[in-house]
Symmetry: D2
Subunit: 341 residues, 4 copies
C-alpha cells in the first residue's frame, strides 16, 4: 500500500511510519517528492492490520494497491468458471436463464410456471419459499411447504431449482430440496450464512447488496469460496442511487468489470434491477449483449395478483418473446443460450 504523508510531516513522523510499516512485516520504500513524501509498503497488505496506519502521526491518507480478495480473482484462476447444475449452465460462453415467480404460492402456480418457463427456454426455476420481506406484515412465504412444491416442479420438468436461504438454521433444510442456494441482497454480508452455504455442496447464487462495492461483493464470495465451495455465481441486481423512476439502478458495466477481476460467472437480475415489468425485456437483451453469463427473471401466471413483486414480473407470453429475442442477441455476440437437453 502507499502511505501518503502530509506536506508538513516531520522527518520524525516519516521515520515513525517507516517503523510501523516494517513492524507489520512489510518492506518500506520511501519516495520524497517535491511536495510530499510517500512510503510504499511492499508485501501482502491483505493479511495485516494496515488500515489503522491512517491514524499515524503526519499521515494524509493510505492507498491500497492490491485487491483484497484472492480466491475469487482472475489473477489466481485465469480461465472462466462455468457452473453446471442439472440442465442449467452459466459461464464460459454459455448464457443460462433462471425464471419463475417471486414467491411459491400454490402447486398450480409453481408447476404451471415451471412448464411455461421451460417451454420458453429457461433451464432453472426460481421461486421463494422463505421470503425476506421489508415489512413484518407482508406475506413471509410458504416455507417448507414451498420447498416441497419446488421439488415437485423439478420432478415434472427437470429444471434446476433456485431458492433463497435466509439463515444458517435453514441451510440444511433448503439444501435438501434446492439445487442452487440463493443468498439475497440483504444477506450479502451475513457472514455466518455465507460460511454455512460455503460448507454446503449446493451451488450458490450470491446477490450483490444494494450498496455493496464490488470489492465487498467479491469478499462476500470469498467467504463462501474459502469454505471450499467453488460453485458460486455472482448476481448483479441493482444498486441504490438517487434515481426514483426505477426501484434500483442496474449498472451493466458490472459485467465487464467482474469479467476482468474474477473468473466467476455473472448473472443479471433485470426484475429487481429495474422494478418495473415493462423494462425487463429491454434490460434482458442489454444484459445478454453486454456479456452476462446468465439472467434471473421473475415470471408469474398473473402478475397483477402475485403475492409479491407483481409489478416487476413478466407474464408467460412476454417472457416467451423475450427469450426468443435473447437467443438472437446471444447469437449476434457469438454466445449461446443454454437449452434443456
Amino acid at each position: 500500500m502507499i502511505v501518503v504523508m502530509e506536506k508538513n510531516a516531520s522527518e520524525e513522523q516519516v521515520q515513525h511510519m517507516i517503523d510501523r510499516v516494517q513492524h507489520l512485516g512489510l518492506k518500506a520504500h520511501v519516495i520524497r517528492g517535491v511536495e510530499r513524501t510517500v512510503i510504499a509498503a511492499v508485501g501482502d497488505e491483505r493479511i495485516t492490520k494496515a488500515e489503522s496506519l491512517e491514524s499515524g502521526p503526519g499521515v494524509a491518507e493510505v492507498l491500497p494497491i492490491l485487491a483484497p480478495y484472492k480466491v475469487a480473482s482472475r489473477e489466481l484462476k485465469p480461465e472462466s468458471t462455468q457452473i453446471s447444475v442439472l440442465g442449467f449452465k452459466a459461464g464460459a460462453g454459455v448464457v443460462g436463464v433462471m425464471a419463475g415467480p417471486c414467491s411459491v404460492e400454490s402447486e398450480e402456480q409453481i408447476v404451471s410456471s415451471a412448464h411455461a418457463v421451460k417451454k420458453a427456454g429457461a433451464t432453472a426455476l426460481r421461486g421463494g419459499a422463505f421470503k425476506p420481506r421489508t415489512s413484518p406484515y407482508s406475506f413471509q412465504g410458504m416455507k417448507e411447504e414451498g420447498l416441497k412444491l419446488l421439488a415437485l416442479a423439478r420432478e415434472e420438468t427437470g429444471l434446476a431449482v433456485v431458492t433463497e436461504v435466509m439463515s444458517t438454521e435453514e441451510v440444511e433444510l433448503v439444501a435438501k430440496y434446492a439445487d442452487v442456494l440463493q443468498i439475497g441482497a440483504r444477506n450479502m454480508q451475513n457472514y455466518r450464512l455465507l460460511e454455512a452455504v460455503g460448507k454446503s455442496e449446493r451451488a450458490v447464487l450470491l446477490k450483490r447488496g444494494a450498496s455493496a462495492t464490488i470489492d465487498e461483493f467479491l469478499l462476500a464470495a470469498e467467504y463462501i469460496l474459502n469454505e471450499g465451495n467453488s460453485n458460486v455465481m455472482l448476481c448483479e441486481r441493482g444498486i441504490r442511487t438517487f434515481e426514483a423512476h426505477t426501484r434500483f439502478t442496474l449498472p451493466l458495466a458490472t459485467i465487464p468489470y467482474l469479467h476482468r477481476k474474477t473468473h466467476l460467472p455473472v448473472i443479471i437480475d433485470p426484475s429487481h434491477g429495474t422494478g418495473h415489468a415493462y423494462m425487463v425485456p429491454d434490460m434482458s437483451l442489454a444484459a445478454v449483449a453486454g456479456g452476462a453469463d446468465g439472467l434471473i427473471i421473475e415470471v408469474h401466471p398473473t402478475p397483477e395478483t402475485a403475492a409479491s413483486d407483481g409489478y416487476q414480473s413478466l407474464d408467460f407470453p412476454t417472457f416467451e418473446s423475450t427469450m426468443a429475442r435473447c437467443a438472437k442477441v446471444a447469437a449476434a455476440v457469438d454466445r449461446t443460450l443454454c437449452r434443456m437437453p
Copy 2:
C-alpha cells in the same frame, strides 16, 4: 393508496382496477381529472398485497399514503421513549453516550478503555467480540472470551455493556453477558436475527443499513417491537453516497425526521458516520446540537495499533475534551448529558 391511471386508460381498465381495489378489501374512490383518472383506495393498505396493483392494465403508478410501520410510529405513541439500562439513559431530553474500542483485544485494553470513557462521561461501554468483517482474512473478534472481558469491565466500572450480535445462534450467549444487543448495519434486514433479539429481554441498538431508507429502517425496528421487545434505540451511522472523502455520509437530518415519525430514541455514530477520527469531535457536537438522544463513539488507547477501525477511533484525551464540549452544547439546547450516578 392512490392508483394513478394512464392518460389514455380505457373506462374498462378503470373499472377493472376499481374491482381489484375492492377485492383487496379497500374502498375505491374515483376522481376524474382533466388529464387523468385516479382511484383513491381507502383502508389499511399495509395488510394487503396492494403493491402488485401496479401491474394492472392502464395503471401509470401506485402511490402509498400510509406509513408502512405502526408500533414504531409516533402517531401510535406520541410521548418519546426513554431507554434506561444500568446508569445509561437515552431519550426524552437525556443524551446518553456509549464509547469504547471497535474490538475487544485484551483485558488491559478493554478495562483501561472502560475507565477512561467513564471518567470522560460515558455511561455505556461499547466493544465488539463477534466482529462482522468485510474480509474473511481480517481479525474476526475474540468471541466469548471478548464477552467475558466486557463483563469484567462492567464489573469494574458499572458501565452498561453494548456489543454486537451477528446471528441467531449467538443471541443467547451474547445476551448472557451484554446489556444492550447491537444489530450492525449489515444485518439490519437479517429478519431472523431481528426476530430473535425481539424475543430477548435485552435492550437493542439497531443500526441503519448503509442504503436503507428510513421506512425500511423503521420496519426493521417493527420486526423487533412486534416480538414484544420495546427497548429499541435507532442508530444512524451513515449512508452510502458518491462522497469519497468520508467513508460514509452522515445525514443528521435523520434526527428531526425520526423524532417526527417515531417515539424511539435516536443515537448518532460519528465514528462510522465519517470514518475519520479528526471529524468525530465536530460531528459529535453537531449531533448533540441537532437533537440526538445519544452518541456511540469509538475510543481506543492507541488508535494507530488498533485491530480494527483505528482510523476512526479517538484516543482518550480527545474523547475527554469532546465530552466536555458536548456537555456545554447539550446545555445550550436545553438538554442534559446522562452521567453515572
Copy 3:
C-alpha cells in the same frame, strides 16, 4: 396533486387547505380515510405555485400526479421523433453513431479520426473545441481554431459535426461551424444556455446532468423545445453513485423509461458512462440491444497521449470491431445502424 393531511389534522386545517387549493384554481376533492384525510386537487398543477402547499397547517405531504413537462411528453406526441442531420439519423428504429476524439488537438488528429470513424460506420463526428474542464489548469480546448478544423473534417468526409457549446456568447460562433450543438452534463441546468440553443436552428444533443432526475432532464429539454427548437436528442452519459470502479454509473434502464415518457431520441454515451475504454465495447452492444437510438463514443488515434479523456477513448481498430458487432446486435433486435449514403 394529492394533499395528504396529518393523522391528527383538525377540521379547520382541512378546510384551510381546501380553500388554498381552490385559490390556486384547482378543484378540491376530499377523501376521508380511516387514518387520514387526503385532498385531491384536480386541474393543471404545473402552472400553479402548488409546491408551497406543503407548508400549510396540518399537511403531511404533497404528492404530484402529473408529469411536470408537456412538449417533450409522448402523451402529447405519440410518434417517435427522428433527428436527421446530413447523413446522420437517430430515432424511430434507426441507430445513429457519433464518434471522435474528446478534444480537437490538431488537423491531422481530427481529420484522421473523421476518416477512421466514417470507415467504421459512424455518421457524425464528435470533437470538443470549447472544453469544460474540472480544473482551470487543464487543457481548455482549441476554441475557434478547433471549430475550423471540425468544419474541415466535415468537408473531407461529409460527417455531421457535433461539438459542445459552453455559454450563450459562444452559441452563434459554434452554430456557424457545427451541425449539432452539444450541451454538456455540467450545463444541463444552465437555463440561459438552454434558451439560447432553443433559439438556434441547429439540432441539440442534451446530456443528462450527473445527478439530474429524469424529470429535471426532460424539463431541461422543455426549455429548448419551448423556444421553438424541436430537434433535441437526449443523451444518457452516466450518473453519480457510490460506485468507484466506474467513473459514472450508466443506467441503461433510462432507455425504456424515456421511450415511454417522451418522443425524443435517446443517445447513450458509454465512454463517459463508464470512464474506462475496456468497458466501452460491451456497453455499446448493451445499449443497442436495450433500445438506444444512438451512441456517442470517444475515439482517438492514440488514446494514451490524448489531451483529455484518453482513459476512456477507443483506438481505431477497437472502434471498428465494436461497430461491426453493434450492427449485428441492431439486426438481432430488428433495428438498423444508420450508414452514410
Copy 4:
C-alpha cells in the same frame, strides 16, 4: 501520482510507462513488489496530461497523490480567510448569517423580511431576482426590478445583499446592486460564469453542486480565485443521494473536511440541505456546533404562499427563536455569531 501495473505486465510495458512518465516531465521511481510493480511519478502532476496514462499498456490503475487545487488549499495559506462585507462577517471564529426569502416578490415582502431577519440577528439579506427554475413554467424572478428592491431593503436596514447571478451577461448588472454574488448549485461548473465573477470585485458565495465531489467544488473555487477574486465563501447545500425523506442530504462532515483542506469560510444552507422547514432549526444548530462559519436560511413572511420554496422557508417567529438558540450554541463552542454593529 502512482501508476499501478497489472500483475502480469511485461518488462517492456513497465519500461514503456517509465518513458511516458518521464516524457511528461515527471521523475519515475520504480517499486517492484511481490505481486505488482508500481511506478511513482514525482513532480507536479497537476499541470500534466497524466490522466491518459491509464490507457497505457499493462496499466491497472493510476492513483493521484496531490490535491488538484492550489490557491484554495490550506497548505498554501494556513490561516483562515474571513470574508467581511458591510456588517456581515464569516470565517476565522465568526459565524455570519444570511437570511431572507427564496425570491423577491414585492417591496413589502422583501423590506419586511429584511427588517425581520435583521432584528433576529442576520447581517446579510438573501433574495433571488434571477431565479434558475427547474421548469420553464415556474416563476422566473423579478429580474432587475427585484435587484432594485434588494438595494432598497439594504438602504433601509444596512444589511449586505446576497443574490444569485445566472449568466455572464448578467454579472455586471447584478454586481451593480448586490454585495455578494451567489453562484447556484446548478452553475457550480459553469466555468465562463466562474471566470466572470472571478473578475468582479464583489464577494462570491459559491454553492456546491448536488453531485460535485469536494475536489470539483474546490476546483470551481479555484477558477474564481485564479482570476484574482479572493473573497470566496464555500456553501454546502446538500447532495443527491438515495434518501427521499429530505430533498437533498446535508453532509455536515463537509465542514471539518473543508476546514482541513482550505482556508476559505464554509457556509451551510439548511433550507436547501433538507427541503423541509421543520428540519431547518435543528440543522442550523447542528451546523453551528459542527464548526460552520455561516448559515444561509430561507425566511418568508408567509411560507405557505411563497412564489418558490415555501416548503423549506421559516416564518419570522421560527427564524427568531432559531437565531437565539444558535447564539447560545455558538457560545458553547467558543465562537460568536456576527451581529450588526
